[in-house]
Amino acid sequence: MTENILECKNLVLHYTAKKGVVKAVNDISLGLLKGESLALVGESGCGKSSLAKAIIRLLPRNIQSYTGEILIDGQDTMKLNEKQFREEIRWKKISMVFQGAMNSLNPVLKVGYQVAEPLLIHEKLKKNEAMEKAKEALSVVGIHESFVDRYPFELSGGMKQRVVIAMALVTNPAIIILDEPTSALDVITQANIMNLLKRLKKERGLSYFFITHDIALSSELADKIAVMYAGEIQEIVSADTFYKKAAHPYSQKLMASVPTLRIDKKPEFIPGAPPSLINPPSGCKFHPRCPSAFDKCAKENPPIFDLGSGHIAKCWWFEQSEGKK
């Protein structure tokens, strides 16, 4: 029986900007099973990165509300103070591979040191022990150990991304959040990195929380797909079902916009622009761009509807199906 290794319940992250309150994460609940890979997909600006940061507690300065539960291995991390969080959770239970690896590495510190740093902090290893482990981590991701003495600017984009992955692995956490880990890379490097991630997951039984706007890419790695729109989860469903028969109109539109090699179809686009997170549309956030919207959609925001076998959708079309969650 597999349990959720990571679970969010009613997670809220709002922060204040000059023009108003940005409701980046608006009451989100989802779960990640052990050994599972969950892909979080959505357009740019829908709040995906904010969700990741909310989970790993990388909060901006202008927070307005940060509430809900985040359960890692059953423990609610929201209840921990910063010191406890730093010592018990960060890089021990969950680590992160950032978007734009180029900037995630300190330009004035050697690569080897940066990979070894979590070991020095969390496992209190001695310098040479930590460096040995760092070399191991680097070779696992395919980087020769001589690179420990190099500086980030001496590495190519793909190599930097591998270093960042090595950095995330070095303390053997169970969960890794990957925020668009390949968006800045060329396709070949992208493919290599994805293969690496797949291999690591299999070898070490990792659980991935994988964020991307590239649906096609998600198909490489995802067991489960969560669709996010305007700060809210619109659908969570197994990957196979998503690619064949997604339930939510938005998910369907997303799938329709992906160009396919073998089937002759014209990729569609979704008219309109992503909504503002400060002044989102009333009712269902997607209704202005939804081809299936009806009058209730503009008035009330639908709750989550359970469609069975862990498939949930946030759309009034499913009101008749199973009871509300």
Binding site: K18, K19, S276, I278
Partner: protein, 475 residues
């Protein structure tokens, strides 16, 4: 992540500017300064102002020396204002002039009487009588009397004007002071230990407090000065103007040459603005051009410009400026040009050049080159508009430095002669020992104008910087 609603246009910028308090203050005060400048230049043209400030024609003679602004009376003693009585306006305000001819003698008797009320808490600073006498051979013989409230009459002196337009400085006239000394000795029973200045003797309350300037108090009431004179000649005539100089004058007071400081304060505004804005704008634009050329064309041109920039860094700006000012006579436009020439290869070039080199690599520049746009077109239509916005706040923010540069030169004594600028006023106040003598208003007023001008531009520059510089907005 960009600030929603902000457009990179002038209107958009102005809209954002209003949201900052510093922006409002800066813009408001700048508008005020501009209005003052335009008003001043229109109502008092430059040449006229310079002549006025030089004191041509004795225009300032009827002003008191180093008088404070009139509004100090709200904060302290009610200091006297200047009282003038003119015999040509006989019949008004307590002035009477009567001339009677003595038949068959060719002589006339003249009687001029000035009456005025004095109800101030302080003594006047000076008393002068300006005579305008008409005579052929012999000047009139005049006896001058002083009547205090209560009736006491003192004969001050017998006076013969030395020319048709003569000035009698009552305050320093020795005959007058000895007459008053004997009068005072009569009252006090003995001569005062330290001789009292004439103004004090003329106006003091007559008791023991008269003994020293520290304790003397002015007697409030109606005073009278009258002149009895004998005129010689059929066509002879005499007119007199009595001026009891006060200790306050006007909105800004006067300096030691009796000049109304409001003229200098007003005229300092367009000078400061012209100097500051012209220098700042010209230097910024030339630096911009040089940086763009240096960054865009690269190669030898770039090296040369970079070396010259380093040269400028090593050469000391202020000493060279002072050397040039000392050796040559400069007027305002030439000084501005010299400052510009000495500054154009300044440090701003390095940072702008770095920006240009970054922009040079952008795809749309490459695209422009691909469709055959000339370098000149690319530079002016694409690159310069891109690097202009970050440069504007620095431009505005650097205006105060140039304003203070002009003030510094003036304070060092190297300013443009006869230019009524704020720095000049401070310089003259220092030379006259204003700090030691307590003439604080003389220093504070131009200083205040300098501060407000500097702060206005500075606040505006900072606000603009926050708007235009994307990195600063997040912070």
């Amino acid at each position: 992540m960009s600030s929603e609603g902000y457009e990179f246009t002038i209107k958009g910028t102005l809209k954002e500017l209003i949201t900052y308090k510093s922006g409002i203050f800066g813009t408001a005060f700048l508008t005020l300064l501009l209005t003052i400048s335009i008003y001043t230049v229109v109502t008092l043209p430059y040449d006229q102002a310079v002549r006025l400030w030089r004191g041509e024609g004795g225009v300032w003679l009827e002003n008191p020396r180093t008088a404070q602004p009139y509004w100090v009376k709200y904060f302290g003693q009610n200091l006297p204002e200047t009282i003038k009585r003119d015999s040509t306006q006989s019949g008004q305000g307590g002035t009477v002039k009567i001339i009677t001819s003595i038949p068959q003698s060719g002589m006339k008797l003249a009687r001029i009487s000035f009456t005025f009320d004095f109800s101030y808490d302080g003594f006047p600073s000076e008393l002068n009588i300006f005579f305008s006498a008409k005579y052929n051979e012999s000047a009139p013989l005049l006896n001058i009397y002083w009547v205090k409230p209560g009736g006491t009459e003192i004969k001050l002196l017998t006076y013969i004007p030395r020319s048709q337009n003569d000035k009698l400085y009552l305050s320093i006239n020795t005959q007058v002071s000895s007459a008053l000394m004997s009068y005072m000795s009569g009252i006090l029973g003995k001569a005062p230990e330290v001789p009292l200045p004439t103004e004090y003797s003329l106006f003091a309350v007559e008791d023991a407090t008269m003994n020293s300037t520290l304790t003397a108090k002015p007697l409030k009431g109606t005073y009278r000065l009258y002149i009895e004179g004998t005129l010689f000649g059929e066509d002879s005539d005499i007119d007199a103007k009595l001026i009891v100089y006060g200790k306050v004058y006007g909105l800004a007071g006067t300096d030691n040459q009796r000049r109304d400081l409001t003229v200098a304060l007003l005229w300092g505004t367009p000078i400061a603005l012209a100097f500051g804005l012209t220098a700042s704008v010209m230097i910024t634009f030339i630096e911009l051009l040089l940086a763009t050329i240096s960054g865009y064309y690269g190669g030898k041109v770039d090296s040369v410009i970079q070396r010259i920039t380093e040269l400028y860094m090593i050469l000391p700006f202020l000493p060279i400026l002072i050397m040039i000012s000392t050796f040559y006579k400069l007027d305002l436009p030439v000084l501005i040009v010299v400052v510009i020439v000495l500054s154009i290869f300044g440090g701003g070039i390095k940072s702008t050049r770095a920006l240009v080199m970054q922009i040079k690599e952008y795809p749309y520049i490459e695209a422009a080159r691909a469709y055959g746009a000339s370098s000149k077109r690319i530079v002016f239509l694409y690159i310069i508009p891109k690097i202009l916005p970050p440069v504007i706040p620095a431009l505005i923010g650097s205006v105060p430095s140039y304003v203070f540069l002009e003030a510094a030169l003036a304070i060092l004594g190297l300013g443009i002669p006869n230019l009524p600028s704020w720095g000049k006023v401070i310089n003259e106040s220092f030379n006259a020992g204003a700090l030691y003598k307590g003439y604080y208003y003389w220093v504070l007023e131009p200083a205040f104008m300098l501060i407000l001008t500097a702060l206005a531009f500075s606040f505006l520059g900072f606000a603009l910087d926050k708007i235009v510089n994307p990195k600063l907005r997040e912070v």
